[in-house]
Amino acid sequence: MEDCLAKKMEITVSEAEKRTGRNAMNIQETYTAYLIETRAVESQSEGQCAPVESLWRRYSEFELLRNYLSVTYPHIVVPPLPEKRADFVWHKLSADNMDPDFVERRRIGLENFLLRVASHPVLCQDKIFYAFLMQEGGWKEMVNETGFQLKADSRLKALNATFRVKNPDKRFTELKHYSDELQSVISHLLRVRARVADRLYGVYKVHGNYGRVFSEWSAIEKEMGDGLQSAGHHMDVYAASIDDILEEEEHYADQLKEYLFYAEALRAVCRKHELMQYDLEMAAQDLTSKKQQCEELATGTVRTFSLKGMTSKLFGQETPEQREAKIKVLEEQIQEGEEQLKSKNLEGRDFVKSAWADIERFKEQKNHDLKEALISYAVMQISMCKKGIQVWTNAKECFSKM
């Protein structure tokens, strides 16, 4: 990780801007553009500050980058993008993707994505990624020239593979299972958390009504008046404090969301492994059947009932020359197939090896990140409790003076 891009370069997504433009269909549309700023770190040591390079990118360009990365590096758990539309939010937050709070959180999410890619040992070396950061014009064309889309596997093929793989790798099956479970548990967690936030918001805000009624009540009381009035003020403070608390909690939700999407990235690796395994099994099957045909032709026995067997019975035997030619073609194909199988085997082994290395890396990163997230969540809760104690202690002081 010593020479990864993140060490050589400071990367920030520093601004988000609403823009209006025309899309491919020439229809007016509004979108958000993000300003990416980069600065080389190396030259700092030479005493001169490197100039800041900056360029604008849209969310869809980030999507294209990620697509390219995940097709090009099938064995890598490619960092996910932040959500396109606000999801799992508590009612007070707007689900509108032009909402300034949402745009701001997405800006942070996109920056996080770039940093994750830049610090990934393999991804950070990618030329297209580098160009994404440095070269505003012509980048899209450059991506398309790589022809990565041709390598993208169709959904149908992937689906086929899932159901037909005969000897799935146990480790990948387990990992796939884990990804499914992780995705389901995090999405459940996020949903419940949003409801918890909603209810907590209610509890705090209803206390705000005490503020008003204490103040009104204080007007008719002689000795109790002052105490009530100031206690009411503390109730107002209490009710208002929940806004910041929940705003901060949203950051925690975003951290969890990243791993919700990571679960999908993990599953993508498993899927690619399945496809590879499927290809391998198909090739092996093809080879076996060819070998069988060859043997049948050579010995003249038909072991299995086949159309070929039927035709030969109906229309009589082929001439020996014809048979020889057929055997020759088959033998060539078998040799070719064996080589192919060999290379596929090799490729598969390589894939498993590098995929597993990246999965291990991912697991470490995940354990570390989530522990950090849990700690920061606990710290948030602690600060909320302390605020609560403070407000109620102040209120008690006022009540005691009544």
């Binding site: 548990v185 918890v196 209810r199 209610g202 009104e216 009540w217 354990n367 606990a378 602690i382 409790c385």
Partner: protein, 410 residues
């Protein structure tokens, strides 16, 4: 003798210095149970009595202690009901024994209250907890409900006990001491209707010209007070409702971390920790809502009813004044014939003045009680919330080491 009591230490709560009580009682019983001061304490117009009343508040002299406890459920063929033990300890000469213990049910308390209202019309009678509960919402025989009601009944009797006039009421005495209250209830019917006579008013026909300013002010105060308390009651109920809904979500939230923990290796322990922590917060929240439901709301309700009682007394006062004014008017018309003011009009004037004096004293007492009660109530609410947050704080702080303990994987 009575002086001796004044130096008795005040017994907080239910405690009663039995030793002292026994001794003093022995001494007191010597002059055949007749107190030295024979001026009837039940006479509401006694100025002396009112002065004593004010002293009492400061010195906290007590010679009558009543507690309500030990609720019991009775299941009969006809009905099911709860009785409460009413224990009395006293050195008052009006009582034959120093100690009584009887069992009373809600309708007995209700009877007492209506008797007090009838025989002490010029006084503010403390409210009883509401008789009816919304069916289905609260189980009338649940432990929580019975306990809440017990507390309210206890408070009701304590408020009467603390009252310089009401505590000497004959019906109150009977309520505390009679073995068979029902017999007394029947027998008392005829007898008591006479006592009620003196407080019957001429209804209708006369309308009060104007409430004196100070009573108008009390009336206005009570209106606003009821209104504000009603709002507070609604807010408190709403908060409890929100808290319970929050609790429902929180109870689902914790276990999700556990489920997640089951999928993980290294993260398993931290996730389980968070789950347990949320569980602790749930327990703390449950306690908070329970305290609010059982301690906070009943006191609010009592005061809402109290304000209603006070408004009723105020109305009665207005009627008495109206009666007086009507009589005065009638006399004024006839003045030319008979120059002397008839004695019944003078009596009427006396009654208005007595009523006014009683009411003012009761209002003042009530204001004092209210201030203390609300200070206690609101401080209690603050305390309960502080405790809740402290419990949550401890829970969250305790899992921080668990989250940090594992060596960083690098």
């Amino acid at each position: 003798m009575l002086e001796d009591f004044r130096v008795l230490p005040r017994c907080p709560g239910k405690g009663w210095p039995l030793e002292v009580l026994k001794q003093t009682n022995l001494d007191l019983s010597l002059p055949n149970g007749t107190p030295v001061d024979t001026s009837s304490p039940a006479s509401s117009s006694s100025l002396l009595n009112r002065l004593q009343l004010d002293d009492d508040l400061d010195v906290e002299t007590r010679d009558l202690f009543v507690t309500v406890d030990d609720p019991k459920k009775h299941v009969c063929t006809m009905e099911t009901y709860i009785t409460y033990r009413v224990t009395t300890k006293t050195t008052r000469a009006e009582f034959d024994l120093p100690e009584y213990s009887v069992r009373r049910r809600y309708q007995d308390f209700d009877w007492l209250r209506s008797k007090l209202e009838e025989s002490q019309p010029t006084h503010l009678i403390p409210p009883l907890p509401e008789k009816f509960v919304v069916k289905g919402v609260v189980d009338r025989f649940s432990e929580e409900f019975v306990e809440t009601r017990r507390k309210a009944l206890d408070k009701f009797l304590k408020r009467i006990t603390d009252h310089p006039v009401l505590s000497f009421n004959e019906h109150f005495n009977v309520f505390l001491t009679a073995k068979d209250l029902n017999a007394y209830k029947k027998q008392g019917m005829a007898l008591l209707s006479k006592m009620g006579e003196s407080v019957k008013y001429v209804t209708g026909g006369y309308k009060l010209r104007s409430r004196p300013l100070e009573f108008a002010a009390i009336g206005d105060y009570l209106d606003t007070f009821s209104l504000k308390l009603g709002t507070i009651d609604r807010i408190a109920q709403r908060i409890i409702k929100e808290q319970l809904e929050y609790l429902v979500e929180l109870r689902e939230y914790g276990p999700v971390y556990s489920t997640w923990g089951g999928l993980e290796g290294e993260l398993s322990e931290p996730l389980e920790g968070v789950s347990a922590c949320i569980g602790n917060c749930c327990t703390a929240l449950e306690e908070l809502s329970e305290d609010m439901t059982e301690d906070f709301l009943p006191v609010l309700r009592e005061y809402i009813l109290y304000a209603e009682s006070m408004k009723n007394v105020l109305k009665k006062r207005d009627q008495v004044q109206a009666e007086y004014e009507a009589k005065l008017e009638a006399v004024a018309l006839k003045r030319e014939d008979r120059p002397k003011v008839p004695t019944d009009v003078e009596k009427c004037q006396d009654r208005v003045e007595c009523f006014n004096a009683d009411l003012k004293a009761d209002m003042e007492r009530w204001q004092n009680n209210k201030r203390q009660d609300f200070r206690q109530l609101l401080m209690g609410m603050a305390d309960k919330n502080i405790q809740y947050y402290e419990k949550c704080l401890t829970a969250w702080e305790s899992i921080i080491p668990l989250l940090q303990d594992k060596p960083e994987t690098k």
